[in-house]
């Protein structure tokens, strides 16, 4: 059994419970144990634009919680992953470590920070996943969206290809679903500018929704709650602005994987998807 401290962040536990639920249930199926980080806060990323140092200290405090538990951290949000990874690297620098200590925090054990999807890829592995699939989703065609902070900046993550990523496509393929090839794979969802200029953010999100529609996919696969806000919650806005119809369900990867592992639709929280996925469920044969 593999054990990790689960870092939820701000958005997932209140706005994306279906992501959390499906991740926890998939973990159970795969013999992964999540330990709660009760006193964990926001990762710090939301105020990085205001003060990077403060956001790093907030992130480092979260890392210290896992460090005291002597566990590595699993995250569900791309931005949490990048923010905590950055702080983890900074803790090795004397100057930053000193500031961290001044606040009374401690870092007894080194902590590795990884996105859950990366853990599935690197620490569980495609072979194990392939064997665990009970209900191959051969009838589905999807488009995989990585989001920026899953693998960029590469100096921080040292994982996957920052220009043409492939790990999520491989993980999707394991479920039996087809992950379509397309250009502009690394395009940003626009989430970070939503609060600054909504029209720009929606235009950025529209780019991939448009590609998804042209590729005739059953769903867009996301691994970050911010990306889902852009592609799912703001899908209607993109439809209005660009005078088109999308109706593309946005599934979190653990929801897709969960269905292929034979979990029922409640166990992956499908009813919480804002763009209804009933056509997809019908195809898969999940009542």
């Amino acid at each position: 059994m593999k054990r990790y401290a689960l870092f939820l962040g701000c958005t997932v536990p209140v706005r994306a419970q279906h992501y959390e639920l499906s991740a926890r249930n998939v973990a159970k199926e795969l013999n992964i144990e999540f330990v709660e980080m009760d006193d964990a806060s926001c990762c710090g990323f939301p105020i990085k634009a205001v003060d990077a140092e403060t956001s790093l200290l907030i992130a480092a405090r979260n890392i210290s919680i896992a460090s005291t538990m002597n566990l590595n951290i699993v995250t569900l949000c791309n931005s949490c992953t990048a923010m905590l990874s950055d702080a983890q690297k900074q803790l090795k620098h004397n100057e930053f470590y000193k500031k961290f200590k001044e606040l009374g925090f401690s870092y007894p054990h080194d902590v590795v920070v990884k996105h859950f999807v990366r853990v599935l890829y690197e620490e569980i592995g495609l072979d194990v996943l392939k064997k665990a699939v009970k209900k191959p989703l051969n009838m589905l065609k999807v488009i995989s969206h990585y989001g920026c902070h899953y693998m960029r900046p590469s100096q921080l993550h040292e994982f996957d290809n920052p220009e043409v990523p492939h790990t999520l496509d491989e993980l999707v393929t394991v479920t039996g679903a087809q992950s379509v090839e397309y250009v502009d794979k690394k395009m940003c969802c626009g989430g970070s500018v939503l609060g600054i200029d909504e029209a720009l953010a929606v235009t950025m999100a529209n780019h991939k929704l448009h590609t998804a529609k042209n590729s005739n996919v059953d769903a867009l696969i996301s691994i970050c709650p911010f990306c889902t806000v852009m592609y799912e919650d703001n899908q209607r806005k993109a439809e209005d602005k660009f005078e088109t119809q999308y109706g593309i369900p946005v599934l979190y990867y653990p929801q897709l994987l969960g269905l292929s592992l034979g979990l029922d639709k409640n166990a992956v929280g499908i009813r919480f998807n804002r763009v209804k996925a009933s056509a997809l469920l019908e195809k898969v044969g999940v009542a």
């Binding site: 939820l8 701000c10 950025m204």
Partner: protein, 179 residues
């Protein structure tokens, strides 16, 4: 028009000494960052190369007061392409940080800062949320993480962002150049 007579030669050093600002001097202006930038692709008013060049030239007021500075999505596409190995997104972030302290912090960020101070989180957790979590079999979560306020107090960021006259110098300079 770039009026070099208004240039502030210290500006670039202010950025370089900040968290993330280190690489600034290495920029040779190739524009690879701008060519890879998704925001620029959709809105030409934003250009990371221009922000960096203006910073190097000392065009403090132009850079700090531009609303387009905040258009950067921090996606790091530019960082991957910069032939000088500059973490471009971090440099832009350092400039935003400096702007935030010079009274140019967007209201949305101030609100997030206040929420983190009050809750340690971005969203207020209502009893409704906790009941929903319980129904789904998800473990309870703490409503308030008070340690975050301690960190904010320690770095003094709220005061720096909110204090109106912190940098009256820049403001009066701005006024003079406008006259």
């Amino acid at each position: 028009m770039i009026e070099l007579k208004n240039a502030d030669p210290n500006f670039k050093w202010e950025i370089i000494k900040r968290e993330g600002g280190e690489g600034l001097l290495k920029c040779f202006g190739c524009s690879d960052c701008a060519a890879s930038c998704p925001v620029r692709y959709f809105d030409e008013r934003y250009n990371p190369r221009k922000i960096i060049r203006l910073t190097l030239l000392g065009m403090k007021k132009e850079v700090l007061s531009s609303p387009f500075l905040w258009f950067c999505a921090h996606c790091h596409a530019c960082t991957e392409r910069c032939p000088q190995g500059i973490m471009v997104a971090e440099v832009i972030n350092a400039i935003k940080n400096y702007a935030a302290e010079q009274d140019y912090c967007p209201e949305g960020y101030k609100m997030q800062l206040d929420l983190l101070n009050k809750l340690g989180r971005l969203y207020e957790i209502e009893d409704f949320d906790l009941r929903k979590r319980e129904k789904l079999g998800l473990p309870p979560i703490n409503k308030i993480i008070s340690e975050v306020a301690k960190i904010l107090e320690h770095t003094g960021i709220i005061e720096r962002v909110h204090s109106k006259n912190a940098h009256a110098n820049l403001k009066s300079e701005t006024r003079n150049t406008n006259e």
